[in-house]
């Protein structure tokens, strides 16, 4: 294109992976991340830094009285309602007409609208940018949605694995809204009106608070031309989010819920303060935590194999470190006849490791494993777009993370071992069989 004015762009490249991407600072105020990939499908995500934990907020420059307070579940409700349009045509129907597979989700700290397609990318991207920037809510459609989301809430309530995890967060946190379900409750969503949705939309759906991530076989020219056409230039805003003051201790060390399960399900959490670190440090902590978790809890490790060989836990056992800008925790999940005994064994093992020190060979192996796992994530446009969005929202950088993994030292993980697993940061949530259920 001869007269093409390319907006300010940052280029990122990894020679080792043979991959690259650009961050285009679009004049509208939106940052567009474009990751070219030799695949048939293209994946696009339009996301706002607005999730279920954002409950009390205002724009900078507004008076304190203007602070908006909303009930639990509004971000998710808003996500559902964005697909409705003034002309009566649901955006899902438009995406379908072009063969695109559209969806959306709400997390603790983000709302994401997305599609995957193999053809007519230009039409689908146009629709994505258009419907997310054109809210349309009516009393009637809000009422209808309350019925649909009530069924969604019940579906999750009936799932013991979901329930066990949400109980863990409820007990780890005293006040932080991460302790409440992303969908809210049947009662909290009953309070939502079109005005509630508009109050949230106005603050959080400013382009300076959003990003567009695209991975696939598309050119920057094509994307920018569509963004030029569809996106209004918006003055950037600064959002003031009020977060309840959260103690470092846990609210409750144990939780027990009874449901019709065949065997107790457990989630163990260690509340962390990693999110308080500066952005660069946070990414390094995540890299080091992933290696430490692998060393302590993986299927090739001594703890898992001793618990498993002695029949104390079921084969499925998972672990992971979660970090967002306002909370962080490490968690383990599994099934066991006696979760308390398993927990005590895990704690004993952690104490032993703190005393004896970690094994250097295991460290080298686990670091190699995590580096390999990182490379494996670059095979799908969906996965790449999701990961890239995660790095952007966590103020990290995708390729830098691969380097950070390689730079993590034995001393780094040893220090974390002593920091993370404190007795007062621990909670275990258990979903146990209902007393009347048949255990034969």
């Amino acid at each position: 294109m001869a007269n093409w004015n390319k907006p300010a762009t940052e280029h990122f490249e990894s020679l080792r992976l043979g991959e690259q991407y650009d961050c285009i600072h679009h004049p509208s105020g939106l940052d567009i991340y474009l990751f070219p990939k030799n695949m048939t499908s293209t994946y696009a995500m339009f996301a706002t830094r607005y999730g279920s934990v954002d409950r009390d907020f205002r724009l900078e420059g507004e008076s304190e009285e203007a602070t908006v307070h909303v009930p639990a579940g509004v971000a998710h409700f808003l996500e559902h309602k964005m697909f409705a349009n003034e002309d009566g045509v649901d955006s899902f129907a438009r995406f379908s007409a072009w063969g695109a597979d559209a969806n959306a989700y709400t997390a603790y700290n983000r709302t994401v609208y997305l599609f995957g397609c193999t053809e007519h990318f230009d039409l689908s991207l146009t629709e994505l940018l258009r419907f997310v920037t054109h809210p349309y809510f009516t009393e009637d459609s809000v009422r209808k949605e309350q019925g649909i989301i009530a069924q969604e809430i019940k579906m999750y309530d009936d799932d013991p694995y979901e329930r066990c995890f949400s109980e863990l967060l409820r007990c780890l946190y005293h006040k932080h809204h991460v302790r409440e379900n992303i969908c809210g409750t049947v009662d909290s969503i009953a309070q939502i009106t079109p005005q509630t949705l508009m109050d949230c939309y106005r603050v959080f759906y400013n382009l300076s608070n959003m990003v567009l991530v695209i991975c696939g076989n598309v050119s920057a020219e094509e994307v920018i031309a569509i963004a030029d056409r569809e996106l209004p230039v918006q003055p950037p805003v600064r959002i003031l989010r009020e977060m309840p003051e959260e103690p470092h201790t846990v609210l409750q060390a144990r939780s027990l819920v009874r449901m019709p399960v065949s065997k107790p399900i457990f989630n163990i959490g260690f509340k962390d303060r990693g999110h308080e670190l500066p952005a660069g440090e946070r990414q390094k902590r995540e890299a080091a935590m992933s290696i430490l978790n692998e060393m302590l809890f993986s299927r090739s490790g001594e703890l898992y194999n001793s618990l498993f060989e002695e029949g104390k836990i079921s084969p499925a056992f998972s672990y992971g470190y979660s970090m967002a800008d306002t909370f962080s925790f490490n968690s383990l999940a599994g099934e066991a006849d006696d979760p308390e005994a398993v927990l005590q064994e895990i704690l004993r093992y952690l104490e032993d490791k703190k005393r004896e020190g970690l094994d250097r060979e295991v460290f080298a192996r686990c670091r190699r494993v995590m580096c390999a796992e990182y490379i494996k994530d670059f095979d799908s446009t969906e996965e790449i777009a999701n990961d890239l969005l995660g790095y952007v929202f966590d103020e990290g950088e995708m390729f830098a993370y691969g380097e950070l993994l390689q730079q993590v030292t034995y001393e780094d993980v040893t220090q974390l071992l002593h920091e993370i697993f404190g007795a007062d940061s621990l909670c275990m949530s258990v979903v146990a069989p209902s007393e009347e259920s048949d255990q034969t």
């Binding site: 695949m39 063969g99 050119s219």
Partner: protein, 449 residues
């Protein structure tokens, strides 16, 4: 900015590895992670199901060279986080037993001492299938068998933990009660517990002596080299005969509607409807039926989503699926337990519209686009490539992804109506939630007893 060329077709090529062993391979540098899998198939038979499940669980616990789970996992770690999963699933009336591995392309490892990862993964697969950990008498290690009995039974019992999955399982059993595919995947807890090691040995021999071993490889290596590696690593695989598997049974019409309601102490009800379609992948009406399912309930633009969910607010999740081997269409949704009849009526009303040809140009176009998108996306995923070709291979259907796309694109509204008119409702299954307000709340002190 690089703009890439469109891709050529992804059909794997066929290579003979040895007696009873065939490799389907596609050489490509598109992926950083390669796929190597092996599968064997037999007709699903009630007596073979429980020992096969326990056998497979035990095989992955230890081998002659890697005698413990820790040793196996450490070896996989050293193969740069290669993954290995055992598979036990159904395709039509067939039971498939298999192992699949995924491993990094060594070009990305930056490690001259990385070794031959493909060979390492092939060795691990052959160790599990052909050289499991046995005791002096040649029987599988008793400790591992006993331990896996417990895990397998736990896993059978825990199917009830997830009401959505449980309802889908029970529904499939009820719908296909008199067909091989209706036999529960692992058999029953009592059957598993009473199995002897001699029975496991016989089951192992049965699979190895009379099955063809099908490998799939999708990755950067030359197929000839992959075949050479497999030939060497599976040299001990010597089937006596390759058993012919009878064709999948197809019930083309339901004579009457079966209605089954079961209860569970949860808040939501799960409604499932099963239809006999009179169209399988072997029939000329296959493409029209796949299209009918798409218009009816397979996407967020479908009739079911737009009416039952969006218009009537009866549910959050709703969808339909079509089993091209059994010729069965299934509808499922999660609803308020009191709304079963209302939801059922609405679903059937939408189906009546399909039969009457009330399909708009937009719906027809959207369904075609959606299926075109689904089939083109197969090229992006090695597992999807394998799944597409392996299923058709078992059924003796010679069809490429491109054939499939062309067939779907040519379907007319009239053909959809014709296919829909042959569909009959067979089973209505309802898992009724009996606790409208959900499970018990957490204890205040949260103490465990």
């Amino acid at each position: 900015m690089t703009v890439f060329e469109t891709r050529a077709q992804f059909t794997p090529s066929r290579h003979t590895v040895g007696q009873g062993m065939v490799l389907y391979a596609r050489q490509t540098d598109r992926f950083k992670v390669g796929l190597l899998s092996m599968s064997m198939a037999k007709q699903t038979e009630a007596a073979r199901v429980p020992p096969t499940s326990l056998l497979l669980s035990t095989l992955k616990r230890g081998t002659e060279k890697y005698p413990s789970l820790a040793a196996i996992n450490e070896r996989l770690d050293n193969l740069y986080a290669s993954s290995l999963v055992t598979r036990n699933y159904r395709c039509g009336d067939r039971q498939i037993l298999g192992i699949s591995t995924e491993f990094l392309d060594s070009r990305y490892l930056n490690d001259p001492e990385a070794g031959d990862i493909l060979d390492g993964c092939a060795e691990m697969m052959s160790q599990m299938l052909l050289h499991p950990l046995t005791e002096e008498n040649g029987l599988l290690c008793a400790r591992l068998v006993d331990s896996e009995k417990v895990h397998l039974c736990d896993s059978i019992r825990s199917q009830q933990n997830n009401p959505r999955l449980w309802a889908a399982l029970r529904f499939a059993e009820v719908l296909c009660a008199n067909e091989p595919c209706g036999i529960p995947l692992h058999g029953g807890v009592d059957q598993i517990m009473s199995l002897t090691r001699e029975q496991l040995r016989a089951c192992h021999r049965d699979w190895l002596d009379s099955s063809e071993l099908i490998f799939f490889y999708i990755g950067p290596e030359e197929p000839a080299r992959v075949a050479e590696v497999l030939c060497r690593r599976f040299a001990d695989f010597r089937p006596i005969t390759v058993e012919q598997i009878p064709p999948t049974t197809v019930i083309r019409r339901a004579d009457k509607v079966r209605s089954v309601t079961e209860e569970m102490a949860v808040s939501q009800g799960k409604l499932h409807l099963g239809f006999r379609t009179d169209a399988t992948v072997h029939d000329p009406t296959y493409y029209a039926m796949a299209m009918a399912n798409e218009v009816f309930g397979a996407s967020p633009a479908s009739k079911l989503f737009m009416t039952v969910r969006e218009e009537k607010s009866l549910c959050y999740s709703i969808g339909s699926s079509y089993d091209l081997y059994k010729g069965i269409m299934k509808v499922s949704c999660g609803i308020d337990p009191d709304m079963k009849d209302v939801a059922c009526e609405e679903i059937m009303r939408q189906w009546d519209r399909m039969r009457r040809g009330e399909i708009t140009d937009e719906e027809l176009h959207a369904a075609k686009q959606s299926l075109e998108n689904n089939y083109r996306t197969i090229e992006d995923n090695p597992h999807a490539i394998e799944g597409f070709y392996y299923g058709r291979l078992l059924e003796g259907v010679d069809m490429t992804v491109e054939d499939c796309r062309a067939g779907l694109a040519a379907v007319t509204r009239e053909q959809i109506v014709e296919a829909a008119s042959a569909v009959t409702l067979d089973t209505v299954y309802f898992l009724k939630g009996t606790c409208p307000d959900g499970g018990e709340e957490a204890d205040e002190d949260g103490e465990l007893e």
